[in-house]
């Protein structure tokens, strides 16, 4: 019989799957802004924030919630080749496969989009836009000017990317959503909800306020770091559960294992 902690640690494998999304107050607020922004006649929407603040998760949720009701396409991984990017755009709009030996003409694509204005409104969700070249960003800008295509883009918050955002999109971006790290309360909700959702209420109840505080102190509320930390914690738990169960308390969460995981990840030093 395998340890319950094996299944538990798998919950915290970092992914942007729809069911991995946890509805937090701050995330819900940002989601509502984004959703209402799509209803407005805006050309572009920008979601920016530090890595691990839930930008990709937000785009993923938006895609899955709206894919049935409107024309929406999600480019989860950045497409760095211009040729490939334009091919994917035209394929998404026309719902046709373009042969690999053919090249998409950008002017032709622009004219095609202009003809669609007032008839269709296609939304493209582009993640990790800081990886796109400046010329490709310029093409995205021109496409958004046709008003037949709307872009929701995510950027990592660094000085350089802010410049990109300012220079290319300052006249086009009407809505900017800044994603931040979770506070202690949100992080507690995030961890608890994640565990309860998968039926680990008993373990979730063992975690006390001070344990959440300790986790927050090391991860600073970053969701990616929190997932990594909790994965490590339950990995160690799994070992003790299977080989040295007498060392585990049945009543409370082990501070020793919290510290051991922090040591393993380099948050603290022995």
């Amino acid at each position: 019989m395998s340890s319950q902690y094996r299944a538990l640690k798998d919950i915290f494998i970092d992914s942007v799957e729809r069911d991995a999304y946890v509805d937090l107050e701050s995330a819900s607020y940002n989601y509502k802004i984004l959703e209402s922004g799509l209803e407005k006649p805006l050309k572009m929407l920008l979601v920016f924030g530090k890595p691990g603040t839930g930008k990709s998760m937000l785009l993923n949720k938006l895609y899955h919630n709206l894919k049935e009701s409107r024309e929406i396409h999600y480019f989860e991984a950045p497409i760095l080749s211009e040729k490939e990017f334009l091919r994917r755009i035209i394929e998404s709009i026309s719902a046709q496969q373009i042969p690999h030996n053919m090249k998409v003409n950008f002017d032709g694509l622009l004219k095609y989009c202009q003809k669609l204005k007032g008839h269709r409104e296609i939304v493209f969700l582009l993640d990790e836009c800081q990886l796109y070249s400046e010329s490709l960003m310029e093409k995205i800008r021109l496409l958004s000017d046709t008003r037949a295509v709307k872009f929701v883009i995510t950027l990592h918050k660094t000085d350089n990317e802010e410049i990109i955002a300012k220079e290319h999109f300052k006249t086009r971006i009407w809505e900017v959503i800044e994603m931040t790290n979770a506070n202690e309360y949100d992080l507690e909700l995030y961890i608890t909800k994640k565990m309860i959702k998968k039926g680990f209420m008993e373990v979730a109840n063992k975690l006390r306020k001070k344990d959440f505080k300790y986790i927050h102190a090391h991860t600073l509320g970053n969701f990616r770091e929190t997932n990594k930390y909790l994965y490590t914690i339950f990995d160690i738990y799994e070992y003790y559960d299977e080989l040295e169960p007498h060392k585990l308390s049945t009543k409370k969460f082990s501070k020793k294992i919290l510290e051991m995981a922090a040591l393993r990840l380099g948050y603290i030093h022995g």
Binding site: E259, M260, I268, G270
Partner: protein, 268 residues
């Protein structure tokens, strides 16, 4: 498996280090607390250490007074006289102290030899000595008869007390002042030397030292006066008058004017 064991060992080291640093912090905290508490408790004595010299002198005076009483009382205990006599003696000594305190100025020096001699004398003799004394009244006024008695006693007592010679010989004084002046180069010291020479009627020297004081501080009235007086004593009256007149013109000092008048009239 090995990895977890190594991690556990690492955690043990981490925990031990944490406990040690916590204990260290607590001990430092307690040490600081204890130091602060000690300072708080001894604040008055520390404060007293930095208090003015005057305060120290006053406390010394009171200590000496207390010691004198204590020594007298201790000595009385040693004598093998009867209880009655002891009581009488004690009363007399208390009276004598009260008299000394009420009728004489307080001198912060106790002549222990005198005290000793007085204590060894037979009681009868003491009674004789103090029989003429007048007890201090609670009122502040004494009758004429009482006052005359007190004066007589005072005169006799002062002859019996050792004289405290505070001054030094003039030669030593001049040497000391010269040494002092060579170190300080102070106008006041030069003036004191000029005065000392003037008192010794060494007018040449007093003129020199008064001039020295003038050089260092041209606004010292006294140095100008001594300088002019020395000149006058050296039969340079007109020169003395001229100098003082010039100085008076500048300072309008009434003291200088008075001396100037005296020199003019040859009355100094």
């Amino acid at each position: 498996m090995d990895e977890i064991r190594k991690l556990e060992q690492q955690w043990t080291r981490y925990k031990a280090r944490k406990i040690i640093s916590l204990l260290l912090f607590i001990s430092i905290f307690y040490a600081l607390g204890a130091g602060g508490y000690y300072t708080f408790l001894n604040w008055n004595s520390l404060n007293g250490f930095f208090s003015k010299k005057v305060g120290l002198e006053e406390s010394n005076r009171s200590t000496l007074y207390k010691k004198s009483i204590a020594s007298k009382e201790d000595f009385k205990k040693d004598t093998n006289t009867s209880i009655k006599k002891e009581t009488v003696e004690k009363a007399e000594y208390t009276e004598s102290i009260v008299e000394e305190l009420s009728l004489k100025p307080v001198i912060p020096i106790i002549d222990m030899e005198k005290e000793k001699a007085r204590s060894y004398k037979p009681v009868v003799h003491k009674e004789k000595i103090h029989s003429k004394r007048v007890k201090a009244k609670p009122s502040t006024y004494l009758t004429v008869q009482e006052l005359s008695k007190v004066r007589k006693d005072d005169e006799r007592d002062t002859t019996r007390l050792k004289r405290i010679h505070l001054g030094s010989s003039s030669k030593n004084y001049i040497e000391t002042m010269k040494n002092k002046f060579s170190k300080s180069k102070n106008s006041r010291d030069a003036l004191l030397l000029a005065k000392a020479f003037y008192r010794k009627r060494n007018y040449k020297e007093s003129e020199i030292w008064a001039l020295e004081a003038n050089k260092l501080d041209s606004n010292l009235d006294e140095s100008w006066i001594i300088f002019a007086q020395s000149k006058a004593k050296l039969r340079k009256k007109s020169e003395a008058i001229n100098i003082l007149a010039m100085y008076y013109k500048r300072t309008k000092s009434p003291k200088v004017k008075a001396v100037l008048e005296k020199i003019k009239m040859g009355k100094f």
